[in-house]
């Protein structure tokens, strides 16, 4: 049965359904509702978990690493500056192969100070070795958090997973969401059985240093783990689909079969693009949407098989690629095309920075090729277009 519920609250209930054993968190807008509600759940005795109050996100992620090392199922959540403050520990969590799950409520980075949503924070953390999932709506947030633990704790993966949801436009929205029963989640997600734990009866060393003779091998092993996780992620998604009736794929498509033109996007903006696609369809024009549920490991093959026969691709991003020729998503897709020796017409649009509204009309303008005439000031040496900038 579906229930009208705030997505942040639903995210904390998903963590509860996953029976997390340790939560270390620091409040930061727009993530606060998630950990606030989790604190309430723990305080009410509804969840048997250790709730660690810390003095910063740097400590929150450090505490998560510690609790994960002892074999506890660990959850945290953050946003923007908080994610950047965690930055160095993000590498430690992935390098030491701790299956921590973090809900990252995406928000713009200072300065100028902005509490609203865009992807500046997660894009700055994209190469930290975390598996990254992106959600389009509240239902996906709940499902992804449950799946994230299953993926992270798989013996073939053992890597931290970040579940990304857009700040405010997703986190603070009340949506009809189907919350699975505890019994169903228990059936899908067995208790975490760690490979190594810190225990006085059997001492081990974790996080030792590696001399130049060994660091390359250690990093290669970690890279192989994240690359090989893709197949496991697909299997977990399939199994989730069979059990819960909601099927997810690393790369999802909408109306791409008939269209020569496709948008590629991440996160909740996909819903607006779908509205634009439906409107275009009414006018007899065909556009498609490719949405990445999985961003790390990058689903290169899946993406290539969808995009290879398209005539025009518009990559939509919510981050300002400072000093770069293009946005990060565009660069990754073009590198996939290059390695497959395929040159195609690709455009890069920067939209919705710092919570700026993005309406379906913008995507219709992009499709019609009129978006730039209306609202774009060209920048020398740049290939991307910033939609809506006043010049």
């Amino acid at each position: 049965m579906k229930k009208g519920i705030e997505v942040s609250i639903a995210a904390s209930i998903a963590a509860k359904l996953a029976r997390v054993e340790a939560i270390a968190a620091y409040p930061i807008t727009p993530q606060t509702h998630i950990v606030e509600h989790l604190a309430e759940i723990v305080a009410n005795g509804e969840l048997d978990a250790v709730y660690i109050n810390v003095e910063s996100e740097h400590s929150a992620m450090s505490a998560c690493c510690g609790s994960s090392a002892t074999g506890a199922r660990t959850f945290t959540s953050t946003s923007a500056q908080g994610l950047e403050l965690m930055h160095e520990i993000l590498f430690i969590a992935s390098g030491m192969r701790f299956p921590i799950v973090m809900a990252t409520v995406n928000r713009a980075l200072s300065s100028p100070l902005s509490i609203w949503g865009d992807h500046s924070d997660v894009m700055a953390a994209r190469d930290t070795g975390w598996i990254m999932l992106f959600c389009e709506n509240g239902q996906e947030v709940v499902d992804m958090i449950i799946m994230a633990f299953r993926i992270a704790e798989d013996r073939g993966v053992l890597l931290p997973v970040m579940v990304n949801l857009d700040g405010f436009s997703l986190s603070h929205v009340i949506e009809p969401i189907e919350l699975p029963s505890q019994m169903m989640v228990d059936k899908f997600l067995p208790p975490y059985s760690p490979l190594y734990t810190l225990h006085p009866n059997k001492p081990v060393t974790m996080g030792a240093y590696a001399m130049p003779e060994l660091y390359t091998e250690a990093k290669y092993a970690q890279e192989m783990a994240i690359i090989n996780s893709k197949e496991i992620i697909k299997n977990v998604m399939d199994e989730f689909g069979k059990q819960f009736g909601r099927q997810y794929k690393p790369v999802e498509t909408y109306n791409t079969e008939n269209a020569d033109f496709v948008f590629v996007a991440l996160g909740s903006i996909g819903e607006n693009i779908k509205t634009a696609i439906d409107e275009l369809k009414g006018e007899g024009k065909n556009a498609g949407l490719v949405q990445l549920r999985l961003f790390r490991p990058f689903p290169s093959e899946e993406l290539f098989s969808v995009l290879k026969d398209k005539k025009r691709v518009a990559v939509i991003e919510r981050v300002m690629p400072a000093g770069a020729p293009n946005g990060p998503l565009f660069q990754e897709i073009s590198s996939v095309m290059c390695t497959n020796s395929l040159l195609m017409h690709m455009e890069n649009y920067i939209v919705g920075l710092g919570g700026r509204d993005v309406l379906p009309e913008s995507f219709i303008d992009i499709f019609n090729g009129t978006a730039c005439e209306k609202s774009t000031v060209p920048i020398r040496d740049k290939n991307f277009k910033v939609i809506g900038v006043r010049g």
Partner: protein
Amino acid sequence: MAKPMEEYKWHELNVGCVIEEVGNAREYKTGDWRSFKPVWNNEKCIKCGLCWLYCPDATVFKTNEGFYLSNLDYCKGCGICAKECKPGAIKMVEEGR
């Protein structure tokens, strides 16, 4: 570790590079990046043991005669022993001389 680290292949490493055996640090000689080494003058030495006490890596040991020496496999050449030696019996000498 069961073999020298430069012989390990990437897939032979434990997940997260966890080390399961206790005390294997002694297999790695960490004194190879030292540029100065301590040299004891036993004529000045009063066998007080301050060098042994202050060595941050516990490389200083007591000989059968009651004098002191540093295990150069692990000595980093920090010079703390020489600095703390009250009678001035320890001199830091450049490696290779």
